[in-house]
């Protein structure tokens, strides 16, 4: 019984679409079925989980902020200027998107490790050692999530009608004022998408983190690492922590859904 005039689609489209939905839904159902609901409170209150949750939130938010501070300017330069090697720079920035995170972690280690090309001098001069530190967790998360910020913002800047910026300039606005009062506000929905995507990627980061920052509870063990460790030792704990990650992701998706759906 379909509504009169409703769009008619081939049956195969519905079948394939339902299969797509199942790929996402079935694992979630599996997780819920396997959840030890009665012990959940105790499992989640354990030091390991609380530490990992705190560290995950802290490092993913810090990584998102760093990605915004350096990624938005990078996106502006890429979208607004033309210089030799621009496409090379763009490709390089997007590399972490396709690179296996573990390779990224290894590269970070070679460059910024205690004996790395850059890490050595930094440690000698300041005493700051990045690998196996909380700062290292932030850096690894920034490395893998930066492309999301740059791509989203650059794309929206390219789509923006540049004549608005010209209009602002002719009204006496300096380049900085144009950026602050016209360009960025006009791409605000994409900026928000950029923040959400970047943060989500940083929160889920595993490979680069474990390679570069290790897996030290309370110091570098984030929620995804805690799930991995718990899978070996305590399955109930692994399920409980996974549930926390699903819950956080859902809360963010739902609370930002208006902007999210509209901008993407």
């Amino acid at each position: 019984m379909s509504e009169r005039g409703q769009t008619r689609l081939p049956r195969a489209i519905y079948v394939a679409g339902a299969a797509g939905l199942a790929i996402v839904a079935v694992p979630m159902i599996g997780l819920l079925v396997r959840t030890p609901w009665s012990d959940l409170g105790g499992l989640l209150a354990s030091d390991v989980v609380v530490d990992a949750l705190r560290l995950s939130l802290l490092s993913s938010i810090a990584a998102t902020l760093v990605a915004a501070i350096v990624g938005i300017p990078l996106a502006i330069v890429l979208a607004r200027t033309d210089f030799p090697g621009r496409s090379l720079v763009r490709g390089l920035v997007l590399l972490p998107l396709v690179l296996p995170p573990v390779v990224g972690g290894a590269a970070l280690l070679f460059a910024l490790g205690r004996r790395g090309v850059v890490g050595g001098p930094i440690a000698d001069l300041t005493g700051l050692v990045l690998p196996f530190s909380t700062l290292g967790v932030v850096l690894a998360a920034t490395f893998v999530s930066l492309p999301f910020m740059v791509l989203t913002v650059e794309g929206s800047l390219r789509n923006l009608d540049r004549r608005y910026e010209g209009a602002a300039t002719s009204l006496g606005a300096t380049p900085w004022t144009v950026l602050r009062r016209v360009t960025l506000p006009m791409v605000l929905p994409s900026l928000i998408s950029g923040f959400v995507l970047t943060w989500a990627r940083a929160l889920g980061e595993f490979g680069a983190t474990i390679t570069f920052a290790g897996n030290l509870p309370g110091k570098t063990q984030t929620l995804p690492l805690a799930v991995y460790v718990a899978l070996e030792q305590d399955r109930d704990a692994a399920v409980a922590i996974s549930l926390v990650l699903v819950a956080i992701s859902l809360i963010v998706l739902v609370s930002l859904r208006d902007r999210w759906w509209r901008a993407l």
Binding site: D161, R163, Y164, G166, A167, A168, T169, S170, L171, G172, A173, T174, T177, R181, V182, P185, M186, L188
Partner: protein
């Protein structure tokens, strides 16, 4: 120091080379009239400071704005050039009031003062009630008023209007043309109106530059352009007769001549458009006499292939188009006394 705008604008791009000399005295409106792609927007962008010259020079009230030979280029934000853009380009994320206050805020006026001045301007263009609205809520005509206020609020030294009436429907256009005329006369500096619509140019400009393929093909008053077109483009524009006059009660006075236009709603300055083929030429007073018929003489006869253009003289100089057969049958030559007639329904009237 010479006041006003004096410029030679040369820009070279792959598709179009623009080279025009443009001078506008304070208090004068020049219209840049030309087809799409003629280089009008390039001139606008060069004067606004959004496109550097390849060669030439722009001087406004004694200040050099652009001079590539001497490596001078004043960026757009330092030019004091007010611009109304095609499609108006009001900032969609700001309220009407914030849009108008934008230029003042950008020039570091304190917030409160910027608000007061912006409110005054909104009052002046009759848009006070819309000050809290977003540009998306405005009609084309309202957006034009806001765009005008936004451009004028910073007291620019030159006013640029890029196709300010192009986005409007015919009725709003007539009304807005009048609003524009009022505000143009209130602006003391040089004004440049960019348009592809001859009616805008004829009704609003003191002087018209016709621009085609990046060069000026004719400069003159609306009278010059209409009566003595110097290129095919202008002839096509002007070949359609544009008669400027004043309308009352369905009649239009053009100098001493009265033209019956039928449109009783039109009042005040109007442009009547009469197609050359709507004018008939007779040797004696036409039978069943349409109201619009008068005695005149033939001033010029020009053959264009299978058509002949005839210019009539006083009391109402017009161009008529007839067949070569009619010319030989009636024996029309320069100096022939004839009767010209037009049906009132063949006259299209635009309110100025």
């Amino acid at each position: 120091m010479t006041m006003g705008l004096s410029s030679r604008i040369i820009t070279e791009r792959a598709t179009l080379v623009v080279d025009i000399a443009l001078t506008i005295d304070p208090g004068m409106t020049v219209a840049l009239l030309g087809p799409n792609g003629a280089g009008k927007s390039t001139v606008h962008a060069s004067l606004a400071g959004l496109l550097p010259l390849t060669d030439g020079r722009i001087v406004l009230n004694g200040r050099v704005l652009d001079d590539p030979d001497h490596d001078v280029f004043l960026p757009a934000d330092q030019r004091r050039v007010g611009a109304v853009f095609q499609d108006y380009l009001l900032f969609p994320h700001l309220s009407v009031l914030e849009n108008v206050a934008f230029g003042l805020r950008a020039r570091k006026e304190p917030k409160e003062r910027a608000r007061i001045v912006a409110e005054e301007w909104l009052e002046r263009v009759g848009m006070s009630e819309m000050s809290a609205r977003r540009p998306g809520d405005l009609s084309g005509g309202q957006a034009q008023r806001v765009a005008l206020a936004r451009a004028l609020v910073t007291q620019p030294e030159l006013l640029l209007l890029d196709e300010p009436l192009a986005a409007l429907d015919v009725r709003t256009k007539a009304e807005l043309r009048r609003v524009l005329a009022d505000h143009l006369s209130g602006f003391a500096g040089p004004r440049l109106l960019i348009t592809h619509d001859p009616a805008d140019a004829f009704l609003l400009a003191d002087e018209i530059y016709v621009i085609e393929d990046g060069s000026v093909t004719q400069i003159g008053s609306s009278e010059d352009i209409r009566m003595r077109p110097r290129s095919a483009y202008v002839a096509d524009l002007a070949g359609v007769n544009h008669v400027v006059g004043s309308a009352t009660n369905g009649d239009m006075s053009v100098g001493d001549h009265m033209l019956r236009i039928g449109d009783t709603a039109a009042l005040g300055p109007v442009v009547a458009t009469i197609h050359p083929r709507a004018i008939s030429i007779h040797l004696s007073r036409p039978e069943g006499s349409p109201r619009n018929s008068w005695r005149t003489t033939i001033e010029r006869v020009e053959h264009y292939g299978d058509r002949v253009r005839i210019e009539t003289g006083a009391p109402l100089p017009l161009t008529a188009e007839v067949t070569p057969a009619a010319v030989s049958a009636l024996g029309l030559t320069v100096g022939s006394p004839v009767w010209a007639s037009i049906k009132a329904t063949e006259i299209t009237v635009q309110v100025g």
